[in-house]
């Protein structure tokens, strides 16, 4: 700790294993030694200038950092009164923010002498990033992916295979991200000697939430510097989508101790939280333990995990990183659901007004930010929102084409059967009732 003079601990300085009541290590004993090794290696590496230099070199020369901060005037004008800037993680190599964490952990894996990387993936972005790092560093790579996701993200499966990774479809349970994590954990229990589990989000047992955040902090640090140099002031709000929550944690971290900057996380609202078909764990607000962390968790009365639902495979996770749970509980950040229909309206709007095709995950942040801008009314004039465009939408073109009925032979009708969704081109749909807010 470098700030003993502070009367209270800064949000930025929080380390694991606990974030308030959340976090910890709810894990089989067999994996504790491996987690200890990861933590020890991480702490040593953070203090090693050679490691930092190598991570920075890769971030610059391989990923393409710093990523741009782009003002989107046409999108903002259609959304509401505020000005909007996008943090362009979509322009990173492999097409999303995921590469930041993957390169960092892959370097740690090398440092530990591991020769094999395993990962879970939902949308495929984390799997692609991990397969990429494995190719770059000459490591073996196995990616677990729910078989429902291998179908809706078939192109990313092919990308991972091109990169030399083995993709294992997981047929258990809901066949989505949580089941892929279960299977990766089962692999890791039996393979820890030579294998690093490259967890892709700020969830899981300590030290993953803290460590994954650390590798993504660059997002918020860059954004803060960029907006200060472009506008000479901090933004009024920053916004990001939240599944596990890694891109949001990376962006938020740069502004956690700037109380004048509001932090907004937008969860996948699916068909609407009131329908039960969603992935808004924080909004639901039930504490539980899953995959090694205590956090908010979608679960039934018995404690069985409830299947989540979202048009976005990357947000289709029934829990959330423990630091987000903490930020929600303390009120430092606000979390709200965004429905599939709202998300897709903003997806279309960014394509049409700015020539940028966002990942469907990131479109949740766009929709949430647009809602926020509108909610300010006239007071929003001149306000600034930074939105994390965490990934690009190439992988989602097929899903979007189906949603908007753009494929040959489809009628150009609104696909959504819910009454909230007009044709996306008609503009944003009304916000649903939101539940618990921080």
């Amino acid at each position: 700790m470098s700030a003993p003079a502070e009367e209270t601990q800064k949000y930025r300085d929080h380390e694991g294993p606990y974030f308030g009541n959340f976090g910890g290590r709810w894990m089989p004993e067999s994996l504790v030694a491996a987690l200890d090794e990861v933590e020890r290696t991480f702490r040593e590496a953070k203090a090693d200038p050679a490691f930092i230099a190598e991570f920075q070199r890769l971030s610059r020369d391989y990923t393409g950092r710093p990523s741009l901060l782009t003002e989107v005037t046409r999108f903002a004008a259609e959304a509401g009164p505020a000005r909007m800037f996008l943090k362009r993680e979509d322009l990173n190599h492999t097409g999303s923010h995921k590469i930041n964490n993957v390169l960092g952990q892959a370097l740690l894996a090398q440092r530990m002498g591991k020769t094999r990387l395993i990962a879970e993936t939902g949308a495929g972005q984390h799997g692609v990033a991990t397969a990429t790092a494995a190719a770059l560093m000459g490591m073996e790579c196995v990616v677990y992916m729910g078989s429902a996701d291998t179908k809706r993200q078939a192109l990313n499966v092919a990308r991972m295979r091109l990169l030399g990774a083995e993709v294992v479809p997981v047929d258990h349970g809901a066949q989505t991200l949580k089941d892929a994590i279960n299977e990766a954990l089962r692999d890791w229990v039996a393979s820890v000697e030579n294998t690093h589990y490259l967890l892709g989000t700020v969830a899981g047992p300590h030290p993953f939430p803290e460590m994954v955040r650390w590798f993504h902090q660059i997002i918020g640090e860059e954004a803060r510097e960029q907006i200060l140099s472009m506008e000479g002031r901090l933004p009024d709000a920053v916004a990001a989508c939240v599944g596990g929550g890694s891109n949001a944690m990376g962006l938020f971290h740069g502004f956690l101790d700037d109380p004048e900057v509001a932090l907004y996380g937008f969860e996948a609202g699916g068909d609407g939280v009131e329908t039960g078909r969603h992935a808004s764990a924080i909004t639901l607000g039930r504490s539980g333990v899953l995959h090694g962390a205590r956090s908010f968790l979608m679960q039934d009365e018995d404690g069985q995990t409830v299947d989540s639902h979202s048009i976005s495979a990357g947000l289709d996770y029934p829990s959330v990183g423990p630091e987000h749970a903490y930020l929600a509980e303390t009120g430092r950040a606000t979390y709200e659901p965004v429905t599939d229909a709202e998300c897709m309206a903003s997806f279309e709007m960014l394509c049409r007004t700015e020539g940028i095709i966002p990942a469907i995950e990131s479109a949740h942040a766009l929709a949430g930010a647009a809602r926020l801008s509108r909610s300010w009314g006239e007071a929003g004039e001149g306000k600034i929102i930074i939105i994390n465009l965490s990934g690009r939408g190439d992988k989602d073109v097929e899903t979007a084409a189906e949603w908007f009925r753009l494929l040959p032979g489809q009628k150009n009708d609104p696909v959504a059967e819910t009454d909230t969704a007009e044709n996306g081109a008609d503009g944003p749909s009304p916000a649903p009732e939101t539940g618990v807010q921080g």
Binding site: G24, R25, W26, M27, P28, E29, S30, L31, V32, A33, A34, D36, H172, G173, K178, D179, N182, L185, R186, V189, A190, V192, E193, S287, G288, V289, L290, H291, L297, Q299, E301, D302, G303, Q304, T305
Partner: protein
Amino acid sequence: MSTTTAVDQRPATPASKTERAIEAARAQGRAAFVGYLPAGYPDKETSIAAAIELARNGADVIEIGVPYSDPVMDGPVIQQATTEVLARGFRLPEVFEIVEAVVEATDAAVLVMTYYNLIDRMGAEEFASRLAAAGGAGAITPDLIPDEAGEWIAATDRHGLDRVFLTAPSSSPERVEKIVAASRGFVYGVSVMGVTGARDQVSDAAERVVAAAKSAGAERVCVGLGVSTRSHVEEIGRYADGVIVGTALVTALRDGGPSAVATLTAELTGAGASR
């Protein structure tokens, strides 16, 4: 029987049901046999009947596994069984009914084996209270480490329940000490780095796991994961206080019902006709 040189402060007569069951086996010059079956598989009545067969054929301790949506320590056989149970609408209170029925019909110590979120959701106090009321001896918690177990330790103390933590080949001496100190009933020695499932050979790590736990002061260490044959049972019984079999029994129940469980248990325990 103590293999440590440390002064043993514990009472000579074990307070817990599980400890008494293991000591009774020891008095007969053998390791205790611990059999696992999932609650409600393939249905409630059959699962009770199968657990009773376990006890009739030589099991000293019975583990009733609670079906859970995310069983990260379980291999394909147990996953498949518990997924089926959940799919037919299993609800948690059924576990307590099954425990009660098995306790009434047998002399075995009956533990539940459950992932922690099921305890957490009900509340550690409520779960412990209902388990004790059903006559359960305690619980094995495969994804709970002592570091996170404050509430569970307090609740099990209040209700006089055993709490079994796992120790692994990868556990450091400091961790083994913590695990042994937190456990009551027995310490569950994980024989191999992996998930549940029958294996051809018992890992040579198992004997080291038991020795490490004993040197940390454990009086009762039972070994599980991968144990599936009589020769495994005999081999492990030479150095451990109990032998845990799960997947092989679940396979028998799946393929041949309670009578197949009875046959396999008799074979594994070597009990044959009489106990």
